[in-house]
Amino acid sequence: MFLEVLLGGLLAGVMYSSVALGFVLIYKASGVFNFAQGSMVLFTALMYVTFVEAGIPFWIALLIVMIVMVVCAVLIERMMLRPMANRDPMVLFVATLGLSFMIEGIAQLAMGTDVHILELGVADGTLQIGDLWLSEFDLFATAMAVLMVVVISFVFNTTRIGISLRAVADDVLAAQSIGIKLPQVWRIVWSVAGFVALAAGLLWGARQGVQFSLTLSALKALPVLIIGGFSSMIGAIVAGLLVGATESLADFYLGPIFRGSVSAWFAYILAVFFLLIKPAGLFGEREIERV
């Protein structure tokens, strides 16, 4: 029984990881906590489901949403990031707060506030492996997340554009001083964060319907980021799994004691615990201030 709860939790944790990954990407490349990531999850999922309901084949719908996210990335770089380059990260953070309201507003204005049912064509049956019963959809979600991490890591680690991305993540001023095209790097990173949001939006949307509450997926990502460290992709994955696993174990073993589900708040308690003993997170780096 323990194993089954644990595995179910781990797989659910993949969903948290998928959202957290988008935050990490942007945090790495621009040092900003992108408050709008949750809105992007809603926006992409809503767009996809609207296109599909209009009778557009799913792969064309996917393509259109991805193109829209690239256009968004270009606009965000031009209108928000460029004028605010080299400003305090807090200023940029507040800008992303504004951005999230804009995206949510546009999403609902253009596509309404109805709850949509999203069918990905993945049967949500159960699969028996030995004595364990696993959700097929969870396994699919895991495969998606692994694929995303592999592709992103490949681009980051084996291409020259990847070197530029990592360079910008390490030191923006030095990167500019050797002639790295910062606007290009930002457009790429925000585009990829858009794609990641789409993947997360589809997974979450298929689970709980495409609706406004998808923006709250960001709130689930927050403890994951605190535990994993804001700048580590590996951290996002590991912490997502950790949160998922401990959450469902806590639900199973502590739930009866609290007479109800504890999963709504357990992750935050865990995050506070980590803030006390390891403030930079499992894989994050502690900032070293030069005096």
Binding site: R160, I163, A169, D170, D171, S177, I178
Partner: protein, 264 residues
């Protein structure tokens, strides 16, 4: 303006009446100077004299309130670090602003950004000109790695290296793109005498081998006197002397402001 320049030779870098202040505190006031093509020019002066600020103005990290920078015949009231790099102004930083989580080789490859001609898609899928460019860049990087004797560290993550070697990596990253003008902010800071001599030899060789024009900041007067073709002395944000090493050495104002403190 010094009279000892070859007649008709254009200055690679001219600085005209630069004034810079931070929230009312003057960092530079009305500084003008010239650097000739092929020259090693040293900026000296006590702490807080404005040396680093001047370097930061030249490559656009700071934007002066007044004055202009002329590089290679083009006038700039404001230049960005990106523009400066693209036009061939390379630099190192006082506190090695290296990409610490990258390997030495990746740092140096990143330094070649201004020569990159391939598009994003060619990069991602390793198609088109990407392969040829990668080969060319690797060859350039290897040359600089060999020149600065960094071979054994090429695959090492920068943050794990000692400070002295990081200084060489910083220089390599700037040098690899073959800048026309190289700005070195205290390349010998924190080094012992032997290391300083070695770095001084390297800087001199960069100048003669690669024909790179160099502006550097250094505190060790002994080193500077032997290395630089020209010395500019700053004190409290103003230029107080400018000339050949022996001229500057004998300048009463300089002795009072700077050398006096050292040799007392």
């Amino acid at each position: 303006m010094p009279e000892d320049l070859p007649a008709g030779k254009e200055a690679l870098l001219e600085i005209h009446e630069i004034s810079l202040s931070f929230k009312g505190v003057k960092a530079l006031s009305n500084v003008s100077m010239e650097v000739q093509e092929g020259e090693i020019c040293a900026l000296i002066g006590p702490n807080g004299a404005g040396k680093s600020s001047l370097l930061n103005v030249i490559n656009g990290v700071y934007r002066p309130q007044h004055g202009e920078v002329v590089f290679d015949g083009r006038h700039f009231q404001k230049i960005t670090p990106f523009d400066a790099a693209r036009r061939g102004i390379g630099r190192t930083f006082q506190h090695n602003a290296l990409f610490e989580r990258l390997t030495v080789l990746d740092n140096i490859l990143a330094g070649l950004a201004r020569h990159g001609k391939t598009t994003f898609w060619e990069n991602i899928f390793h198609v088109g000109r990407d392969r040829a460019e990668n080969r060319r860049f690797l060859a350039w990087a290897s040359r600089v790695i060999a020149f600065l004797k960094l071979e054994e560290h090429a695959g090492t993550i920068v943050s794990t290296l000692p400070f002295g070697i990081q200084k060489r990596v910083d220089l390599a990253r700037a040098l690899v793109s073959e800048p026309r003008l190289l700005l070195l902010d205290e390349p010998m800071a924190g080094m012992n005498q032997d290391e300083k001599q070695e770095m001084s030899r390297i800087v001199s060789e960069v100048n003669s081998h690669f024909k790179t024009t160099i502006v550097l900041i250094e505190h060790d007067i002994g080193i500077v006197m032997g290395l630089a073709h020209r010395i500019v002395v700053l004190d409290y944000g103003s230029k107080i002397a400018d000339g050949m090493p022996e001229q500057v050495r004998n300048d009463p104002g300089v002795i009072k402001a700077y050398l006096g403190e050292v040799y007392e």
